[in-house]
Amino acid sequence: MNWLALILLLMPGLAWAGEARPLADDPVAEARLKHLAVELRCLVCQNQTLADSNAPLAEDLRREVREMIAKNMSDKEIIEFLVSRYGDFVLYRPPLRATTTLLWVGPFVLLTIGATALVITLRRRAHKVVEVAVSEEEHRKVEQLMAEGGKRS
């Protein structure tokens, strides 16, 4: 039993942590990959960028992008490669198309509607305050009531 405990105690010595290897030997290529990957969406875990994701597909796509960078392809060509396979969905910034007009214009439409509603409401309110007209008789009544109230307190 003792020797077992001894072995177990020595075990952690066998485990050692290696330093993470750089992803590519070429830091310039790696910088380009990073720059591209934050603009691209991982298709498996949809709210992560290609740069953040650990999904196997994201790893494969990073490998593809790295190879395309090594082949000296432009950013536009690389993005074209991915869009032709996965559609606009891979882009974090969707392009302005007929199908995405609502997406791009929608917030501004809502803003305009909100601003118009606000202006109309404010104008109406201002109107109401101005339009109050008090007749001579009403004026007398109010004064009478106020006088009575003063006596009571």
Binding site: L43, V44, L57, D60, E64, S84, R85, G87, F89
Partner: protein, 175 residues
């Protein structure tokens, strides 16, 4: 009464949008490849590694390309559907073993049955990327000219088979 009409109608519109949004499946990303020529490949076959599987050999045929893997759960779910389709002989099914170990793939097929005419190996996942695969299983219907006509994302089921795939296959075979 009039005062509540506007907020109520806005509420109804918002609820309508949310209801539609809830019914959409965010995992189903429309493929830009439908209607385009299937990407070319030539991959070693699972059972005969020295032989090559290439879509060029299938010109003039309507066929299904099914991406699967022994590690994939959805593949087990759809497997009975594929087996039934293979038995009926309506359309040949070709497999692409996606990022898998050959021995594990073969063991899986021994256990559950092999519905595929030929199986290609895509161990690096490159064919998958060219086809826009982002999760197995995925199934493509490819026509006589080698054009992708339909993409099924996720497991096949009887409903999809009866309502979409088989009618489409019949139509394409008649062309």
């Amino acid at each position: 009464m009039n005062r509540f009409l506007l907020p109520l109608s806005i509420f109804v519109v918002v609820v309508g949008f949310l209801a539609v949004g809830l019914k959409l499946n965010p995992r189903e990303i429309p493929s830009p490849l439908v209607g385009k020529a299937a990407p070319d490949f030539s991959q070693p076959q699972l059972y005969e590694r020295e032989k090559v599987f290439s879509p060029a050999d299938l010109k003039g045929k309507v066929w299904l390309l099914n991406f699967w893997a022994s590690w994939c759960n959805g593949c087990k779910t759809e497997h009975p559907v594929l087996m039934e389709m293979a038995r009926s002989g309506d359309v040949p099914i070709y497999g692409m073993d996606y990022k898998d170990q050959p021995d594990e793939a073969m063991a899986w097929l021994r256990q559950w049955g092999n519905p595929y005419s030929i199986i290609g190996m895509d161990d690096a996942g490159r064919v998958g990327i060219n086809f826009g695969v982002y999760g197995v299983p995925e199934t493509y219907v490819i026509d006589k000219q080698g054009v992708i006509r339909y993409k099924q994302i996720g497991p096949l089921n009887q409903e999809v088979l009866a309502n979409k795939i088989l009618p489409l296959v019949k139509e394409l075979q008649a062309q």
